[in-house]
């Protein structure tokens, strides 16, 4: 059964190499989890950016070189000299008693940087630490492994700290500022979700050695620049909710077969890339294939999903209310398109039993707008 699902997923992806999940793409599962199109594309390891671009909707995402440089410089600063700055912050800002600090660099193992080797070494060290056989405190870039939908995903947290209350804590280093103890909520949320993936992976790794989930805290340590300076500050962030949500999304991936079995047998998102690396598949044919999979577009997809511009064009084409976003949508429960809403409002469509109440409210709203706009100058407000 499982093999059959994998075969179908490989078929959907076609000839392109499989893309594995990253902490970022796992974190993205939390946004819009009910979208089938994204679930199928992600589970099959398809290259969403390439597919969207070939279908005529290139993604304008990308990071500014300034942002990348700043992020790297800040992380280097925090970790310089065996994490001297980080230890200062943990002690001074978070008031932790870290008696002695042993720092382990896991960026490579004796010069070997392959994920498998690093992962084995990471597991060996962390398990021994948890069992009290090894005195480690800070682990720089450990390599964790997580099975997602039957495939191995390697995840690399910035840092894992032990001995904060004798539990492992995921430390996430970000370069957005914490100004007067406050940071941008959206950025904190993204960082926390990403860290949740590490918490889950770390727990899975320790579970293999028979160590319970309590060994890994679901409070993460966020390290970020203080105010407008370069010097770091830190805060504890409660990630319980996001760990739970992400865990649920991961179990959904296991059930991807249910979604795939509803799709046509021959469906594929293959771009038919030729030897020169150019996609040969006609764009309309690709778009038609994508149209076979139901997508759930929401305006905030635009800020995180590569397919969003494609989905928006589809939503616009059928006058879906999704285009207008949740504030309008929630006013019109049970109605999916602008055409239907306006049809009911103008009495051109007959409402079924479920829609009767909504239709009456819409007719009234339409009458009110017409009444006001029909007056000369839209007045009636003369006091």
């Amino acid at each position: 059964m499982k093999a059959a699902v994998d075969e179908r997923l490989d078929g959907l992806r076609g000839s392109a190499p499989r893309l594995t999940y990253s902490a970022r793409s796992l974190a993205a599962l939390e946004n819009n989890p009910r979208c089938t199109l994204r679930a199928v594309l992600d589970a099959s390891g398809s290259d969403k950016a390439a597919i969207a671009a070939h279908a005529g909707f290139p993604t304008p995402f990308g990071q500014s070189p300034f942002a990348i440089a700043r992020g790297n410089a800040f992380e280097a600063l925090v970790k310089a000299n065996g994490c001297a700055e980080l230890i200062r912050v943990l002690r001074e800002t978070l008031k932790l008693t870290l008696p002695e600090v042993a720092y382990q660099d896991l960026n490579d193992v004796g010069g070997n940087a392959s994920p498998e080797v690093r992962c084995t070494r990471t597991r060996q060290l962390l398990v021994n630490t948890a069992l009290g056989k090894f005195p480690g405190t800070l682990y720089d870039h450990p390599m964790l492994r997580l099975q997602v939908g039957g495939h191995t995903v390697f995840l690399e947290p910035d840092l894992v700290a032990f001995r904060i209350e004798d539990r492992f804590h995921v430390v996430e280093i970000k370069s957005f500022p914490i100004i007067d103890d406050q940071a941008d909520p959206a950025q904190v949320k993204a960082a926390t979700t990403q860290a949740s993936a590490y918490v889950i992976a770390l727990r899975a790794m320790l579970a293999e050695a028979g160590i319970g989930p309590d060994a890994v805290s679901d409070t993460i340590v966020l390290v970020a620049p203080k105010d407008f300076t370069n010097s770091p500050t830190a805060a504890f962030v409660d990630a319980r909710k996001q760990v739970a949500t992400l865990t649920r999304q991961l179990t959904r991936i296991e059930r991807i077969g249910d979604l795939v079995s509803l799709l046509p047998e021959e469906l594929t998102f293959d771009l038919a890339v030729d030897e020169a690396g150019k996609a040969q598949r006609p764009a309309e044919e690709l778009a038609a294939a994508l149209d076979q999979v139901p997508a759930l577009y929401r305006p905030d997809c635009l800020s995180h999903c590569e397919m969003a511009f494609f989905c928006r064009s589809r939503a616009r084409a059928c006058a879906s209310l999704d285009v207008l976003g949740p504030t309008v949508r929630e006013q019109l429960g049970g109605i999916d398109t602008a055409t239907m809403a306006l049809g009911l409002a103008r009495g051109e469509l007959t409402a079924d039993v479920d829609q009767a109440e909504m239709a009456a409210a819409l007719r009234h709203a339409a009458r009110l707008r017409a009444e006001v706009l029909g007056q000369p100058g839209g007045a009636g407000a003369a006091a």
């Binding site: 407008f228 305006p299 306006l342 009234h364 839209g378 009636g380």
Partner: protein, 504 residues
């Protein structure tokens, strides 16, 4: 948002053009606003990259930071922007007029207040951050700055705080003003793109709305209105140009430095100018929308708070604290909530489309007077005979107001007050009997035109009413549970020395 507003968005979607959401513009638009388009460097904590500023479409000033990571250049930028902003603010501190005030408030007020307009909410955030960065700086000591820098910091903080309060007009995002008056066929998030919302309202000649909103999202055609520049622009143009400047400075070659500076200015000028032009087109569109009657009264409150802060500055102000203490936070919350409620009530009273929003959810109603007992007189407990006419209004609105609710009416003279006596649903319509309780003059016979007559169209909405100003404890009588050492005045000395990005 109600179904009436939702209907406007549906119409916009169907017709592929923006449609009005309100009859009026509810924000004051100064005859001479100061427009600022700020740009920041990606990744840095609110590091300014450039700003274009001016009070007219022509001859704006362009300020550019050649190396945003350089501390001295950032402060030079803050000082330059500070001079522009302070000149503008000071030009509103010339004329005062007397006001009658209750209590011991000031007896005179400035006759005009500044208005700074930025493209989007991100622009306000940039100014607020800049205010936070500048207000604790010192003009002496280790890292001295020009005197205008902390002054700019305090004023920007004042303006950014005023922008959080509903109905104020001293610092506003233009996308917000456009979105308040026009409904588009896209989401709120997309409406925050200035070029995009302008594409819905007034696409350029010969350009369809479809094309205009597609262009708005293409940074190659339409540079973003900021605060961040497009990553593609950063990669292809900005990063190399900044590097050329750094190299020239490292070599100490004055000709090369000047050349690199000129390059950067031109590059950034090209990015910022399209937004500058859009800002002024948006302003003239907004100017063409009639201003709501009650905007003037709200502006008086702006004038009062501007005058109060200005006088505080003249007495030698301290920078605003970083975080509110318990009392300050409670006071601020109370002020913001009242402002929000007042603004909503004002808009509904002025604007029949906003009123329609309330009517569609049953929180207001309008209809025809179908019965009237205009000569009804009652005797009060004080044995005084007063007119208490009763009328019955028949409405199609789904009224949800209960008997006993006090009403005001935009269709009647200003101090008209009424009380709901009963409401009786009658198939499709509802008959509501109200008793007129105020606004009829002092006599036993109501003055002419103060009582609705039979057959008249009339609208009623609940009276937001007068609420007492909440009283908060004085700083010296705060219970120990609500105070802490952190509530003491901020230690500004350490803040003056705090680093600012990568000082090189």
């Amino acid at each position: 948002m109600s179904k009436v507003s939702a209907m406007a968005h549906l119409e916009a979607m169907e017709q592929m053009r923006a449609v009005p959401l309100t009859v009026f513009r509810h924000r004051r638009l100064s005859i001479k606003p100061l427009v600022i388009v700020p740009l920041t460097m990606a990744g840095e904590a609110g590091a300014p990259l450039a700003a274009m500023a001016g009070t007219a479409r022509t001859a704006p000033k362009l300020l550019v930071v050649d190396q945003p990571r350089n501390r001295d250049q950032r402060f030079a930028f803050a000082a330059d922007l500070g001079r522009i902003v302070m000149d503008y603010i000071n030009s509103h501190r010339l004329h005062r007029r007397d006001v009658t005030s209750r209590g011991d408030g000031p007896t005179s007020r400035y006759s005009d207040a500044p208005q700074i307009l930025v493209p989007n909410p991100g622009g306000i955030k940039v100014l607020a951050d800049l205010g936070r960065m500048c207000r604790f700086r010192k003009t002496d000591g280790d890292y001295p700055v020009q005197p205008v820098v902390p002054l700019l910091g305090m004023w920007l903080t004042f303006l950014a705080e005023s922008a959080e309060q509903a109905g104020t007009s001293m610092l506003l995002p233009v996308t917000g003003m456009l979105g308040e008056h026009w409904a588009t066929g896209q989401s709120v998030m997309e409406d925050q793109n200035l070029a995009s919302i302008m594409g819905w309202i007034a696409p350029a000649d010969g350009v369809s709305v479809e094309q205009a909103i597609a262009d708005a999202e293409n940074p190659a055609v339409c540079p973003p209105a900021g605060p961040a520049t497009s990553p593609e622009f950063d990669k292809t143009y900005l990063a190399p140009a900044v590097k050329r400047f750094d190299d020239a400075r490292a070599l100490g070659d004055p000709t090369a430095i000047t050349a690199a500076e000129t390059d950067l200015r031109e590059l950034i000028g090209e990015q910022i100018k399209p937004t500058w032009r859009l800002m002024w087109s948006a302003i003239s569109l907004l100017r063409a929308v009639p201003e709501a009657p009650r905007t003037a009264a709200r502006f008086e409150r702006d004038l009062a708070s501007f005058t109060a802060y200005s006088d505080y500055q003249d007495e030698g102000a301290l920078p605003q604290r970083k975080r509110d203490a318990a009392i300050g936070a409670a006071r601020r919350l109370s002020r913001l909530e009242r402002a929000q409620a007042d603004f909503e009530a004002d808009m509904a009273f002025d604007d029949s489309l906003v009123l329609a929003d309330l009517r569609s959810v049953g929180e207001a109603f309008a209809g025809t007077v179908t019965a009237a007992e205009t000569d009804r007189v009652v005797t009060t407990a004080k044995n005084r005979r007063v007119p208490r006419p009763r009328i019955t209004v028949t409405t199609d609105d789904p009224v949800r107001l209960a008997p006993g609710v006090i009403l005001i009416s935009p269709s009647m003279p200003n101090n008209h007050k009424a009380l709901i006596i009963s409401s009786a649903p009658d198939e499709e319509s509802t008959q509501i009997t109200v008793e007129i309780t105020g606004g009829m003059g002092r006599g036993v016979v109501p003055q002419k035109g103060t009582v609705p007559s039979l057959g008249q169209r009339i609208a009623y909405l609940p009276d937001p009413g007068w609420r007492p100003t909440p009283v908060f404890p004085e700083p010296d009588s705060i219970p120990w549970t609500h105070s802490s050492l952190a509530d003491e005045d901020p230690d500004t000395d350490t803040d003056a020395a705090e680093g600012w990005g990568d000082a090189d």
